[in-house]
Symmetry: D2
Subunit: 141 residues, 4 copies
């Protein structure tokens, strides 16, 4: 699965999961920018509802972005297996503020029989500055 | 700050931050159970709005619980400094399902001049089973 | 397996692995203090050969201690399965210096069919100060 | 500092630290391949002394490679400040076996006033397969 096929599939998945009343609704404004085998790029504008009291993108929301967009990257190689989270590690390098547009670049680093290793960089769309990097290990067996 | 003073202070902080329209509103049903110097215990019932498509507590929500309740533990030693996240690491051991009541036990492991090291265990309130463990490093300088 | 049986078994494993010419030889002075189901405590004195240029215990050696002693804790529940490392996460709170005696307290947090979640705290034996905490996820399927 | 100047400087640092009797002596066969501002590539052949009982590169040695080569990448931007480890997170994707030649590609992701965020990929030199990825947060204030 690659190119527009992959992008359209992931956008449809996103449309469905953000409308079901679960936690993913916090991603309802996110958009799939591109997708190919093992990769997914998404974008979203930081709104007040994504921020903490300091007006910066919330660490929990940032972790949610990594969790979900890496899972999208995993779905490009197996539409049937979102997997189950084992470990999720976040490093926070720079704040994103309300109004900032950000890109989430997710990649499947290694896909084995039982485990998938994924990574995502979150960058400021305008400046390219690295906001956060997350790694995500999922059980897919 | 300890005992009911600490508990009441943290409950007030929680009441404020969950009503301001930011990302913390996803914690509006959470309750502070107890607090003392360097420790905070909170509880929440898993609702559909906290779950993923499998009906299990969302990994991003789980990370948010660790982020926020460890910050509460930090506030017990310095009410002025919530700090800024540096690293957040999650291990997911067991699913929590809709209707499960869970406890978040957060602890300040080390508080230095510029960095604070925190940890939280999320357990099923009824069975005591460990659902997730998170570690959180914050910059407090 | 518990008590002196577990302790003696792990000490024998340690004696063997540190004499085979592999990387574990850097643990040749380590000693098993106690062991029970899912737990192992080891101790070692920090020597120059464990340190970096600043005279502090090396971060790589500290990670090795967590890797090995958590694996010892895993062996208390299944002598046949040391498992394979998936994720290892370290937080470094305080330096240990040459001459310091340290304890490594390792614990099996969750043992599933395919994954084991382990944790270890490294503390100064005399002062009890927390030097480092590591979490270790292993594949045991 | 860039190009051969950086490479020669880091090779000299490596020559010194591996001969002082500390833990870095386990890296005595490592070689700096290239260096530029914020980057360092090193290579080493896996020998028995780097392995565990299964004949695979030891997880503790792998963590040591990440620790040290990311620090080399940091030294390219500030020769005076190796910094102090705060968090080190490893994901282990694939075994490296005795005789394998491996590359460690380290990068400074973000350098702030007090914290530096670094990352390293360890790959098989012949096949390019990803063996491990590590992230390393250091205090440099």
């Amino acid at each position: 699965m690659a190119g527009n096929g992959a992008k359209n599939f992931l956008q449809q998945v996103l449309n469905v999961v953000t409308k079901e009343g679960g936690f993913d609704r916090c991603l309802s404004q996110m958009r799939i920018v591109s997708a190919e085998k093992g990769r997914c790029v998404a974008e979203v504008k930081v709104e007040k509802e994504h921020t903490n009291r300091s007006g910066a993108m919330h660490g929990g929301y940032t972790a949610t972005l990594v969790d979900v967009v890496t899972t999208m990257a995993l779905l490009t190689v197996n539409q049937e297996t979102p997997g189950v989270s084992v470990d999720l590690n976040m490093s926070y390098m720079k704040a994103a503020k309300t109004g900032d547009e950000i890109l989430i670049n997710a990649e499947l680093l290694k896909s084995g029989k039982t485990l998938a290793f994924l990574s995502a960089d979150i960058v400021n769309k305008e400046t390219g500055a690295l906001i956060a990097r997350g790694s995500h290990t999922k059980y897919v067996g």
